[in-house]
């Protein structure tokens, strides 16, 4: 190998080494600049957090991942809308069965929602009062009758369950003694478990020739 070739190779290697050195210096300078910028951002964020902590001394600034169901469900002046992480965990849907209370609530709501048809309501109330009194067994009393547009609400009391059953059969299930031919729903609302206490019953009776509106499955709680 010629000497000139060796020298050329050394010079080239030296050039490459110098190039690498210069490149490293440039990278170090860029890294230093980035570190400075990051430090500045960190300082600003810390200062802002300190300011917010001074303004609001509530102990918990960050919403917990899971909020107790009662806390999440309870209405509160501090309730925060649009916070999906506060929603109670979803519970798998389970088959629902209608209870007497569900049905009672349904018919009560249907009755309450009606506007009054004054003409029909007046006549219906009078008729219902007369016929219900005729159907009451001994020890039973008529407490109230209220009619709206297509439904009457009748409240009665009975000495015992036998009295209730006798009344329900005569007033709503026997075409020869019934108040009128309409669909009905009757349920014991109090006195169900205390012996000696009169049983209070609320009945809903549909207009003659009509049935009560059945509950829609979508109403199932």
């Amino acid at each position: 190998m010629k000497t000139s070739h060796i020298l050329a190779s050394v010079v080239a290697l030296a050039g490459i080494g110098v190039g690498i050195f210069i490149q490293n210096r440039c990278n170090d300078a860029k890294l230093a600049k980035l570190r400075k910028e990051l430090n500045a951002i960190h300082m600003e964020a810390t200062a802002a957090a300190a300011d917010r902590a001074d303004e609001d001394e509530r102990p918990q600034r960050v919403a917990p991942a899971i909020v107790p169901f009662v806390q999440a469900a309870a209405p509160s002046s501090e309730a925060q809308p649009n916070e999906p992480e506060h929603a109670p965990p979803t519970v798998p849907a389970k088959p629902h069965s209608w209870t007497a209370q569900d049905l009672s609530d349904h018919y009560a709501a249907a009755f309450t929602a009606e506007d009054e048809d004054a003409d029909w309501a007046s006549r219906a109330r009078q008729t219902a009062e007369e016929r219900v009194r005729a159907d009451l067994p001994a020890g039973s009393e008529l407490r109230s009758v209220e009619c709206r547009a297509s439904i009457c609400r009748i409240e009665t009391s009975h000495a015992d369950r036998d009295g209730f059953r006798e009344f329900a059969r005569r007033a709503f299930n026997d075409p020869t003694t019934g108040v009128w031919n309409g669909g009905s729903f009757s349920t014991i609302v109090s006195g169900n478990t205390d012996p000696g206490t009169p049983i209070v019953v609320v009945s809903y009776l549909a207009r003659e020739g009509s049935n009560l509106p059945p509950p829609d499955p979508s109403e199932q709680p």
Partner: protein, 154 residues
């Protein structure tokens, strides 16, 4: 070859899944019962009813009530339909359905409905009743002489 096997396996899994879903899907079913599956509401009138090809026929005077219990598969609303023969005027048959809770604290009834025509085989649909958990339901029909309840469906 591998690709073919993979495709076959996927199709098989899909077919099995579809069959499983079909097997689990609720089947739209209807219950039915011959009229003779009931009983006289007043036991003293039981002898005035007779069986006739699964139907119940009333042979007495005036009218008498026949009660037919309805099997409940799922708690909810029932709309029973009685297929009847009306002897004479349509008012000689009238039916009502009712639901009662297990402790008899809640009772609901529909109207008493009569067929629209007399002297004919026809159906009567009194309306819908909603049963509560562990409750029971029935359809009751007043029948005049010569009238029948052939079936009840719900």
């Amino acid at each position: 070859m591998n690709h073919m096997n993979h495709t076959k396996k996927s199709l098989t899994i899909l077919a099995v899944a579809a069959l499983a879903v079909a097997a689990l899907a609720p089947v739209a079913s209807a219950r039915g019962l011959g009229g003779w599956g009931g009983h006289a509401d007043n036991p003293s009138q039981a002898t005035s009813f007779s069986e006739n090809w699964n139907a119940v026929a009333y042979n007495g005077s005036n009218t008498a009530r026949w009660d037919i219990p309805l099997v409940i598969d799922n708690v909810g609303s029932l709309t029973p339909v009685a297929y009847v023969y009306v002897s004479g005027a349509s008012s000689n048959v009238s039916c009502s359905s009712q639901a009662v809770s297990q402790d008899q604290s809640t009772i609901s009834n529909t109207v008493w409905a009569s067929p629209s025509v007399g002297n004919a085989w026809t159906s009567v649909t009194p309306g819908t009743v909603t049963t509560v958990t562990n409750g029971s339901a029935e359809i009751a029909c007043f029948l005049g002489n010569g009238s029948k309840v052939q079936t009840v469906t719900w």
